[in-house]
Structure formats: structure tokens, C-alpha cells
Symmetry: C2
Subunit: 401 residues, 2 copies
């Protein structure tokens, strides 16, 4: 044991050179965030020299109304309290179970919580995260259940002319079973990438837990990169660790939808999946909802389940100087799609979502064909909080045949 301690001491003193500066013990003893027993969250920072430290996050603060389960939270910076040792602290109001994001603002510099190793990136912003109460119904937590595999795989897209990266979830037991599985194609929004549903959407945890509870069918979930000009998420492609401001690639010109069959082809060759309409679903959030409906409209025999989460619908841009055929003859395509009676078109949107006009247009097109979609209007706006919840609902409704 003495040897072990010596080894430990050596590692600590030599390997971790960066940690060598003698940090103040008052800093070292800080744990942040702390999820308290009453589901309040205490966030702390040791910064004796700072004049002002604020907290900004998508939760609510003590003294504010927390009755709205779907509230988007209050990102307005809240002043933290400084004690005589130089420690700044803030405790939130009791929080609804959720996967929360926050930053600290130290004398005007927005940072992640140095004591919290858990972060997520959303486009160009990096947030510290905290999981309160396991998220909605505990579904966002890693539980002691059988776990699926998450892989980052590159596929060839002859239509796009490049190799591209995607995330593929296979359910627990896939590696050692011989069965074939249905496939959900799950698409991200503008500015997102093939990591978004896994990192921000907690898709792995949601699927693991729903499948373990018998509430969702074991399924393969394919999460491609919807920015057709990109190989991969920032840092994962050959353009390197790009640090210039992240931009929104132009992606709603029909080219992603046009190249989508390349993805299906690869998936149905590389994985043990079922290859018919009854065993394919496509769903997406915002731009991914836009992609989903146009992919379904242009491939009316491909999907029995279509999920549209806060979907865009009318934001197509031209491909060069023409509108892609993908976006043409839409009335006729709705007629064809609806005639083929997909088992479920599920639409979810928050009452404060800025895409409510798109939502109305989309539903009008389905109403015109007298198609009975399922519609859920929730509280809140255009947020991951809603999209995670929509996934938990949609995933329970598909492949039940």
C-alpha cells in the first residue's frame, strides 16, 4: 500500500504538471455543481480577486416561479454571493428534473465552471451541464440497465461526392444477437451535427432506458450530419480544429435530402437491420424536421413513421439559381405520401416556438389530404428541453407492430 501511495504521489507530482501550481486549499475544497436533496443546484467558484461573478443558465432561481415544467429557464445573469474567503455561490430554486446548461461570467468573461468536468457544445457555445433528478422521468440518466453501443462511423456518399461521419446507436445485445432491427433516422437542427442528438439530446440514455423498460422496441438509431457540405462535426473532419466562429452551413437547398438514400444504403449494408417501410422511421428537430418531411415526401414508400419536432417547413433556399426538384410539386407529393398511409406522422412544437407559422402550414398540407397526424403542443420554445421530451414520446410510438 505504501508503494501504491508513493506511485500515486509521483503521478500527482510529475505527470500532472499542469496541476502543480499550489492551488489555494479553499479552491481545492470546492465542489461544483452540487445537486442538493431538494433538487436545488448549488454552483460555486473560488475567485477572491473577481469584482463580479454571475451565473447564467436555463434554470430558474430562488424566489421565481418554477411551476412551469416546460419553461425554457431564465438565462439572464444572476449575481452570485461572495463570502469572506473569496468563494462565490448561488443556489437555484428547486428544479424540475432536467439536463441543465449554464455558464459563469467572471468580470464579464463567460466561462464554463472550472470545477465541473461535464460540458456540452451547442454550435459555438460550450456550457457546463448538470443532471437534476435524472431528467424527464429519469430517462436522461445512465441507469444500471443493458446499454447499447454508440459508434462514429464514416460512410461513402457518392451523391455528395465525399465520405461523411455519422453516429449510429445499436441497442443492447446487438453485438451478440443474430436478429435484425428496425431503424430510426434521427436528424439534428441548423448549426448542429452528427454529435448533437447524442450530446445535447441524451438520445443514448433515452433509448437505453426506454428499451430496458420495454417501452420502446429495440432499434438502431442513425444520426447523420445534416450539413451536406460538411464531412463531419467541427474538429472531426479534415479541416482540422477550426476555431474561427462557427457558421451555419447552407443546408436547406435540397442536397441533403437528395443524398439521403446513400445513408440508407450504407446502413442497410453495414448493420443487421430490417429493410422495409414498416421498419423505418425518420424524425428530426427544426431543420431536421424540415429534412424529415421532405425526405418522406420524396420517398413515400420508405418510412412508416415520421417525427417532426419544432419542424421548419418553408425555409428552403435555392440550389444555385434554381429550386431543387426535392421542393417542387409539393401538393402532389403530399397527396401521394398520404395515400400510402404511413402509420404515424407525429408533430410536436412548443407554444412559444418561433416556427409556429411553419407548423400551421405543415398541418394544413396534411389536413388537406385528411391525414390524421398526431399533434402535441407543449409549453416552451425552440429548445433541446422540448426535443429530448419529444424523442421520449416518439420513440415509444414506433415499430409497435
Amino acid at each position: 500500500m505504501k508503494r501504491f501511495i508513493l506511485f500515486f504521489a509521483c503521478l500527482t507530482s510529475i505527470s500532472l504538471v499542469a496541476a502543480q501550481e499550489v492551488l489555494n486549499w479553499k479552491d481545492n475544497e470546492i465542489v461544483s455543481p452540487i445537486v442538493n436533496a431538494d433538487n436545488t443546484l448549488t454552483i460555486s467558484l473560488f475567485a477572491p480577486d473577481a469584482k463580479k461573478v454571475e451565473l447564467t443558465g436555463n434554470f430558474l432561481y430562488a424566489g421565481k416561479d418554477t411551476s412551469d415544467k416546460y419553461a425554457d429557464g431564465d438565462w439572464s445573469p444572476q449575481l452570485m454571493n461572495k463570502d469572506e474567503t473569496g468563494r462565490w455561490t448561488l443556489t437555484t430554486a428547486p428544479l424540475k428534473p432536467e439536463f441543465y446548461s449554464y455558464n459563469l461570467i467572471v468580470d464579464g468573461v463567460k466561462i464554463t465552471d472550472p470545477k465541473n468536468i461535464y460540458t456540452v457544445r451547442d454550435i459555438g457555445n460550450t456550457y457546463s451541464v448538470a443532471l437534476v433528478g435524472g431528467g424527464v422521468d429519469g430517462l436522461y440518466a445512465v441507469k444500471n440497465v443493458p446499454h447499447g453501443t454508440v459508434r462514429k462511423v464514416w460512410y461513402d456518399s457518392p451523391t455528395a461526392g465525399i465520405k461523411r461521419r455519422m453516429t449510429v446507436y445499436t441497442p443492447a445485445g446487438y453485438e451478440t444477437s443474430n436478429r435484425r432491427y428496425p431503424v430510426l433516422y434521427l436528424l439534428h437542427g441548423m448549426g448542429g451535427d452528427e454529435n448533437a442528438w447524442e450530446e445535447l439530446g441524451r438520445a443514448t440514455q433515452i433509448l437505453d432506458n426506454l428499451i430496458a423498460e420495454g417501452k420502446a422496441e429495440p432499434m438502431v438509431v442513425v444520426m447523420p450530419n445534416g450539413n451536406i457540405s460538411q464531412e463531419a462535426a467541427p474538429g472531426e473532419g479534415s479541416s482540422g480544429l477550426v476555431t474561427a466562429a462557427l457558421r451555419y452551413p447552407k443546408t436547406m437547398d435540397g442536397n441533403f435530402e437528395k443524398a439521403f438514400p446513400d445513408i440508407i444504403q450504407f446502413v442497410e449494408k453495414a448493420y443487421r437491420v430490417k429493410k422495409d417501410k414498416a421498419n423505418r422511421a425518420v424524425a428530426g428537430l427544426s431543420m431536421g424536421g424540415f429534412h424529415s418531411i421532405y425526405i418522406a415526401l420524396n420517398n413515400p414508400d420508405a418510412f412508416d413513421y415520421i417525427g417532426l419536432f419544432s419542424a421548419a417547413f418553408s425555409q428552403m433556399s435555392k440550389d444555385g439559381d434554381r429550386l431543387s426538384p426535392i421542393y417542387q410539386n409539393i401538393d402532389e407529393k403530399f397527396k401521394t405520401l398520404c395515400k400510402k398511409s404511413p402509420k404515424l406522422i407525429w408533430i410536436g412544437i412548443g407554444k412559444d416556438d418561433f416556427l409556429s407559422q411553419d407548423d400551421e402550414k405543415l398541418r394544413a398540407a396534411l389536413d388537406k389530404e385528411s391525414y390524421k397526424y398526431v399533434y402535441l403542443k407543449t409549453k416552451g420554445g425552440h429548445t433541446w428541453r422540448n426535443w429530448r421530451e419529444y424523442l421520449t414520446i416518439f420513440a415509444q410510438k414506433i415499430f409497435k407492430h
Copy 2:
């Protein structure tokens, strides 16, 4: 296009609530880090209210000697320069190609670079990272070559009594080929986990690039979690997003080595791999080197290739009140192992490594059996800079038969 811009504007103004505060344009225009044409690195922070901003990283600074390719860098904080707009900047000396880590210290608070979305976590510390010159010989960069798949998979360990998470790399083409591949088991050091070789070790990029250049055989690389009491890396297991100070689990008591056959068994069932000694390698850094040599000594028919990177050797601790059988009869086990003539035992260590006594003892045990190992002494100490490079060398020497 107008619609597209509108949509973009809406997303920017509504979806990204956290980015809504009107940031100073002087902050918005900062890009950090910038890799300059001469391989210097310019790091910037907009912090007009800060009294002191320092940079600490494993690179060297202008005016300091940079002739030592293997130098561990100089983590001592360097004062950055403030201009009249409130922007703090520092430009390093020209840097050797490498995957660098750094932090900023703002009035005593150590943070990651808010403008840099790329970070790595090493035990309890999170660093911003920058890739200069593609790393050693460009091997650490994502290049436009065929890419392998990286997956996070859970396997059952009956010996440990839990399900555990590991990282498995399969080479480009695995999904659609029918061939079987050799396997490298690649082990991390103390405080690391199943993510370490991928995130800190650039193992995916190294393997992709070496295989694409024909310098390494296409192989499966299995990166398990060496802390046998853990299910998974922090945040990935059922203990949740633990934010207490990360500790070193007690792991050199023989139980990881004892349960190792569970890993081989799962891998040889779940993946298309070759299942003989000639097609198995085991290698690891520090504690992972310790694990590797004891796994090889206790399974002398299992591996033809053994890689020991800055390996520990004599730090075993007791399992309860007894020394595990794994660590007993070592002289005899060395005799047996060497008699069975594994094709390669490769040892690499830095001249400043604190484990040099272990290195001597390990080599003495092999010398006693007149086994001709391959030995590389490099500059530098107990660092990922060395371990990444050792992997590039070792990977080129295995499975060439």
C-alpha cells in the same frame, strides 16, 4: 435566400438564448487560438476588467529554447499582454508539431479558452487544445483518408460482476468487408479511463493515418477501462455526473488482470477478429504498461506483441490482505513467457520519467531470460506527448507476418 437568412436570424435570436446577451463586438471578433504560418500559436482573451491574465500550457514561449523536440513544455504561467481595447494576447515561440494543451488564468481563476470549442479532460482537469502541424509527422490530424469506426460498447464481465464500457476502434472498411482482423488491446494509465487513448492519445487519427499510408496493418484496437471497480468513465456510468474531486480508484491489486479474459472473450465473439497469439497485441502506458506486462505474464500463450510505454512494474497493492496470485511467482512467469518467444516486447520511456527504476527492474527481468526486447529511450517525462509517439512506433511493428 431571403427566407434562409430570416430563418438563420430567427434561430440566432431565439434558439440560442444563451448567446443573446449583446456581447461586445471586440469580444466577438476574437479568434483563439490561431495557429500562425510559422507554427507559433496566438492565444487571445477579451477581458477588459481583468487585472491579470496568464497563459499556462505545455508549449514554450518566445525567447525560450525550443530545440528539444521531446520537451514536456513549460507549464509555468506566462503573463499575457493587454492592449487598450481590453484584449489580452500571447504568441508562443515557433512550436514543434504536436497536440498542445493549455489553460488561461484570469485573476487567479483557471479556465479553458472561451473562444476554443476543443477541450480534453485529463483526470479532473479540462484543457483547451490546439493541433500544430498535424502533430508528430502529421499523424495526429484527421486527414482525407479512409476512416475507421470508434464505438463505445458495454461488455459483461462475469469476473468483475458488472457490465463495463470500453472503446473499440475498427479499421476503415470493417463494416463492409468480410475479413478478420488482428487485435491490439491498448490500456490507459492511472486516473484515465476508456476514453483516454481516443481523446488524449489521438489513437483514432494515428491508426487511420498509419493504416492509410500502409505503415500499419489494419487492426481492431480495444481500449477498456483499467479501473476494475468502475463501470465507465466519469459521467458515462450509473453513478451519474459525479463532480466531487476525481480520485484514483485502487486498481493495481490484480483484479483488472484477473478479469481481462472476459474482455478477450467478448471481443472475439462480438467482432470479426483473428483469435490466435500471432494476432493479439497488448500495450499500455504507465499503469497500463503494468497491466500489460502482468496480463502477458499470466497469459503467456495469448500475445505475440507486448508494448510497455513508461510502464510501472513494482507498484502492486494487496487485494484485501493478500497479494493477488497475478503478482506471484514472477520469476517463473518471466521464464515461461520468454521461452514462448513472443515476437516483440517493445519498451519506451522518457529519460526524465519518474518510473526509471521500474524500467530498470523490468528490463533486468527480461535480460535474465536473455530475451531480446526492443528499447527506446526518448527525451521528456511521463507525458502523453511521449505515449502518442510510442503508439505511432509500436503500431507499425505489430502483425507484420
